[in-house]
Symmetry: C2
Subunit: 402 residues, 2 copies
DNA sequence: ACTATTTCGTCATGGCGGTTTACAAATTAG
DNA sequence: CTAATTTGTAAACCGCCATGACGAAATAGT
């Protein structure tokens, strides 16, 4: 079952797959899983009324899910109302789990999330990967993966797939890193370097960060822009609850939106791209600091101390971000902008200028800008949860594998 | 059945509707209609292999569609291959039809498209609507609608819905014109002014133009940007074969993407928006011409005559468009950009500067830019076809109404 | 010509999936 | 302690598609 778990996408009129009774069953199994998962604990009757099937039908679906170990029965609910109390169902804390990994510029991280959404294990290794070739890095990552898998297997969990977040552009095949400038990786097929027995998905860290925000954020809407700056500036475009990836998978390159069209030249070939004003290197230079080390922490520290150069640099970055975002908001009309990744930590000094700029350039009420609660954990969590979601989206595909 | 025909949208995991056998049947009916419609004429066996059902199942589906008048049997196919020839099926040229209307700044137009996609009637009325209040304009439009409906009813067609294209922002309810600056309409509920018996959809003309391109364009991909300039500059964002509308329905406002952030002030509150450089008024001013009359024709004529001021003005507009599009392409990564509406007619003089700018600012191969074949007919055709698509998307909803 | 082969459309049968209906179990309200 | 309410399950039913077989209508080969 290395089949395309992720392809639950419905394409406009008439999906590619025939509409058969088995497909119906599979979709209804998924609906039950989602209902229980969203609520934490639910009786059969509650599931039935929530997804619009009859209690009898839900009973058979639940039976099947319990048999395959994806749901478990917690026993009778506390009866608050009149009538026979229902029997609480919950997503199983054992069985398939999501394996998420992050290849950062300065670290590697792996975590396991169970179907309930709980983080069950996490390993991290500090140390720069800048300029290292993919093979040793992925070999090291594989070591971490094997360790963590062995660890959680003792708790009855097994990995239903592996999702890897990388700081770069990823092709739509979900395996190939087309370009990761800060790692100096180009056209690298991670599928060839990772254990073949794990169903693999590779994606941009901004995208996984955006998905984490969508799935784990407190009041996150279904349409928003998740802006994430690490070294480059990327954005995840979440439209109607799913990621906009673009034809080649390169959507969301906010960093290369022109801000001052006659500005300084950029590596992308353009001039005056946002990255020239709000990218990490540009901000450090504008603040009179040297790159290297924990750069974001350094910036935040100096800004908190009131360093005027740093404050000014961040204000200017915020203004540039505001200009680029004005364009994006006019094009996409999202419900919200969420600042994630390194931007979350610098938000206090970026936000005022950013919001001023948005307000100046918008006719109606400006789009609200919020700061991610997840911060730099977003991509890792998003990756692991994407595997979990794939299981919830098609429980039948996973059943009987454990 | 004024029910939301358009809501065939699938929301992420687990659609809102329960997955029942009747739903399955409805979706399969739609699949048959789409298959036949896409091919023009198809036998039952060909439909079956195309949509993945068995011949027996398709037979019953086709029977039902023939009984309700949506399909018709053309008789035996010309046998080119061995074996019994199939019986050709075609979408009916009678029965439900799509009614499309366009409220332009300088004209009104209405047309009827049958399920086969043929334009069966068309009425147009020239005359400016600038500054007229909505009531008399829509009253006049209603008159045209009634005339054209009476006309096509004699051919056995009846309207399955009415779609209206307007030059302005439309709310997501698909009825309310939030702002149409060139008509000076604000927060106008067209549903209250049009015959209630017609299922109504109102949308931006750029959006309908984009849909027309998607459905009728020659080699149009599923992901593209349709840029349409009439007075303002709007874009339709087609992602994975469907329109990106935005939370409020305001997506695609390319005209207010900042191009020179310190440029002249714009009505939107911003500065240096694309519209300041490539909007009709700006181009006319830059070319030293007075607004009024057939302005696009005037520009095209002068440009063709080699008028240097006009040529320069169009070059500069092309450059500005290129800058704004660079931002859009970085965000959306579409497969193509299509110039439609008035831009199509001016393309010869806009394209060189536009493409130069895109090439300069893009690292990889630049996104191809093409010119719409439909030109200014796009919005009207898109509107009418959107009704037709709604019928094809759910034939069961319409069956038995005729 | 005449037969074998291929393909098409249809019919009868069957399996599968959700609904309907009925009922026992478990709780609260009075 | 009874009536009312809600839950979960079982049995009968209906609808939908798959399967397999068949006649019909064409081509290919002898």
């Amino acid at each position: 079952m290395t089949a395309p778990l992720h392809e639950a996408r419905a394409n406009g009129p008439g999906r590619a797959l025939p509409d058969t009774q088995q497909g119906m069953r599979r979709r209804n199994l998924a609906r039950v899983m989602h209902a229980v998962s969203a609520e934490g604990s639910l009786s059969r009757a509650a599931v039935a009324s929530r997804i619009g099937l009859t209690r009898a039908a839900v009973s058979t679906l639940v039976d099947e899910l319990i048999r395959t170990g994806l749901l478990e029965e917690l026993g009778p609910e506390r009866p608050g109302r009149v009538g026979r109390p229902g029997s609480a169902l919950a997503v199983s804390g054992r069985g398939p789990a999501g394996l998420g990994a992050e290849v950062g510029v300065d670290h590697l991280a792996v975590c396991v999330v169970d179907l309930r959404g709980e983080v069950r294990a996490r390993i991290e290794r500090q140390g720069t990967n800048r300029g290292r070739s993919p093979e040793p890095v992925i070999e090291e990552l594989t070591g971490l993966v094997r360790r963590i898998v062995a660890e959680v297997e003792r708790e009855g969990l097994w990995p239903a797939g592996l999702a890897v977040a990388v700081p770069g552009l990823v092709a739509r095949d979900g395996r190939t890193v087309v370009a990761a400038p800060n790692l100096d990786w180009h056209d690298t097929d991670l599928g060839a370097l990772l254990p073949a027995e794990l169903a693999l998905t590779v994606d941009n860290e901004a995208n996984f960060g955006g998905l984490a925000e969508l799935w784990l954020g407190e009041n996150t809407p279904h349409d928003f822009l998740h802006v994430s700056a690490e070294i480059g500036i990327g954005a995840a475009l979440v439209v109607d609850g799913s990621l906009l990836r673009g034809t080649r998978g390169f959507a969301g390159e906010l960093g290369h939106v022109p801000v001052h069209p006659d500005g300084p030249e950029c590596v992308c070939g353009g001039r005056g791209c946002l990255e020239q004003y709000a990218g990490e290197e540009a901000v450090l230079r504008a603040a009179g600091l040297e790159p290297g080390g924990d750069r974001v922490g350094l910036l935040a520290g100096r800004a908190a101390d009131g360093d005027p150069d740093v404050r000014r640099a961040l204000r200017e970055a915020g203004t540039a971000l505001g200009i680029a975002l004005t364009g994006a908001l006019n094009l996409l009309d999202p419900e919200e902008v969420v600042l994630g990744g390194a931007l979350a930590g610098l938000a206090p000094w970026l936000l005022p200028a950013l919001e001023t700029e948005l307000a100046r350039r918008t006719a109606g009420p400006p789009c609200p800008v919020s700061v991610s609660r997840l911060g730099s954990e977003g991509p890792l969590l998003g990756a692991a949860h994407s595997v979990v979601r794939a299981v919830l989206d098609d429980p039948a595909a996973v059943a009987g594998r454990g």
